[in-house]
Amino acid sequence: MNAITVDKEGFYGEFGGAYIPEMLYPNIRELQDNYLGILESPTFRHELQSLLKDYAGRPTPLYFAERLSEYYKTNIYLKREDLTHTGAHKINNALGQILLARQLGKKRIIAETGAGQHGVATATVCARMGMECTVYMGALDVVRQRPNVERMKLLGASVIPVEQGNHTLKDAVNEALRDWISHPEDTYYLIGSVVGPHPYPDLVARLQSVISEELQWQLREKTGRDAPDTIIACVGGGSNAAGIFYHYLNRPEVRLIAVEAGGKGIDTKETAATIALGQTGILHGSKTYVMQDDDGQITEPYSISAGLDYPGIGPLLSHLFRQHRAEFYAMNDDEALEAAHFLARQEGIIPALESAHALALLNKINFPEDHQVVINLSGRGDKDLEVILRNKGITE
């Protein structure tokens, strides 16, 4: 049983809820009333499990990173979400939600994407289910994550570049919400992280919890214990963190660490470290930590990593911070780039720049030699090659 859950109105303690305009009420209400019943039904579970296994390639390996462990003088395991079909944890959520959307009789899928991983995952499951797919993506992200834009197009999705705000993830969410307001009847909004109005944070956390479910038995097989000493995950909205923390939330002996994007440093304006710099506010339908100015205007975030370039964070993570259940750190662009480069050279694995923020923490914290440290390798770095190579001067 999980004590850290949402209440009936969708709150984790103070955070969460459904702060939506009346235009979205019927859609959100329909989801609130139906998601648990559908998620727990035997047919849904069976279908999702078989898709996760045969289509997405789960379970993903738990890999003991020998050379990394030697270097950092502790025991480091990588949960290989990068090896899923489409190359990131986002597919776990996309598969679950597309089945839900189909069950609700929706015909058209919309999504936002930052790094493009959620967009690709959504375009993929839409192709698989024969559903129409529109993906909103900040115009800046369209440029810096080009390979993913091309994948989405090949998969048959229409990608709409968003030119408001900073042309990044927040602006893509705004446009997706506007689309949903204008198409309330046939459209399902397939959100990519544990953000948005209730029930999305809980829905996405449940769908990502497959990560920690597997981690339990994989660790038992490898170490004889089903829990590690520490788990580290990067946080944009917080879905890969929520997924790998999920089954350990009520096990206080497991240290949970979330790593935000520091951008150029949390003492600069160019950062996306929401917990470090934010205050309680309302963004995208949920009460949570938000980066904002003295007038309550949302500030434009910055990170080299498109998937972490977001001025909010899921309400579950705000709650974990407030309850001191998880620790939060911010790692900067250069630290993430260096960590990506290091993993490539040490282990032959090119991580997504998002995941590289979690890896970078190893340079900041020393873990005891006999500890088991699990890092969520949330995605692979193919999409970031250009950015990593261009910045290679920093890393060598």
Partner: protein
């Protein structure tokens, strides 16, 4: 008596409420716009507090909002500018804002300060009825501020009745499934929806908003409802207006057919 209630007591039908974004086109435009609207017969005025992420708004208000923020307006500065507004006009004034700037300002302080300024009501699109009722209603009531709720073509009849019971001032009838913007004419579907609302015999007065842009749509709204709210169309006019007063005069004349 609250000026909104008084308006509906003294006038029935063809009520015109006009929305504009504070701080747009210039940071100093707010008072001249209110004066122009008031002088030219607007029955009610909605002062929009710009927000960085206006998800319920279409391109025109998105643009005016970001321009106003660039001009440097904020809720604090706006209230400061509105200090003496009741010396200029007696027209009911509403403040429209997204929830975050209001919460950041402080809900109690917000209600107190707008009450002192002479604002009669609020529209906060991302503050749902349930959250208002549970957390904030007592504050609004305490200061006599009417918080206006929305109903949409998607709102179930049962919920419309619920909103009508809880709602005050008037109900904001979102005309169609879209964000704010302009439409040339409403199709039959919208007219049926307006008529249906009228036939429900609700306790609150009904003003249509979202999409009203010209005399055709204004008249269509007024056929079954008590009046209409115009926003984007007015902002577009302000954008190119050499003189706010003249532009407002022409706009209201053309829209309502009043002379």
């Amino acid at each position: 008596m609250n000026r909104i209630d008084k308006l509906f007591q003294t006038k029935s039908g063809r009520i015109l409420s006009v929305y504009f974004t504070a701080g747009y086109p210039e940071i100093n435009s707010t008072i001249p716009i209110i004066r122009a609207l008031s002088d030219n017969g607007a029955d009610m005025i909605e002062i929009g507090v710009p927000f960085s992420d206006p998800v319920a708004d279409g391109p025109v208000i998105q643009h005016s909002s970001s321009a106003a923020l660039k001009n440097g307006i904020s809720l604090k500065k706006l209230l400061n500018r509105l200090k003496d507004i009741r010396e200029i006009t007696d027209v009911p004034l509403l403040m429209m804002s997204y929830l975050n700037p209001v919460l950041h300002y402080g809900m109690e302080k917000f209600c107190r300060d707008i009450h002192e300024t002479g604002i009669d009501g609020t529209i906060i699109p991302d503050m749902p009825l349930e959250i208002y009722t549970k957390n904030y209603k007592h504050i609004f009531r305490g200061y006599g501020i009417k918080n206006i709720f929305l109903v949409t073509p998607q709102t179930a009849e049962e919920r419309i009745r619920f909103i009508d019971v809880e709602g005050e001032g008037f109900l904001y009838v979102v005309s169609s499934q879209s964000t704010t913007g302009t439409k040339q004419v409403f199709p039959k579907k919208q007219m049926d929806y307006f008529k249906h609302l009228k036939d429900m015999q609700l306790k609150n007065r009904l003003l249509a908003g979202f999409g009203i842009s010209n005399r055709v749509t204004f008249n269509q709204a007024c056929r079954y409802l008590d009046g209409a709210i115009v926003g984007s169309a007015f902002i577009k006019v302000l954008e190119n207006a050499p003189d706010i007063h003249t532009a407002t005069h022409v706009f209201i004349r053309d829209l309502t057919g009043r002379s």
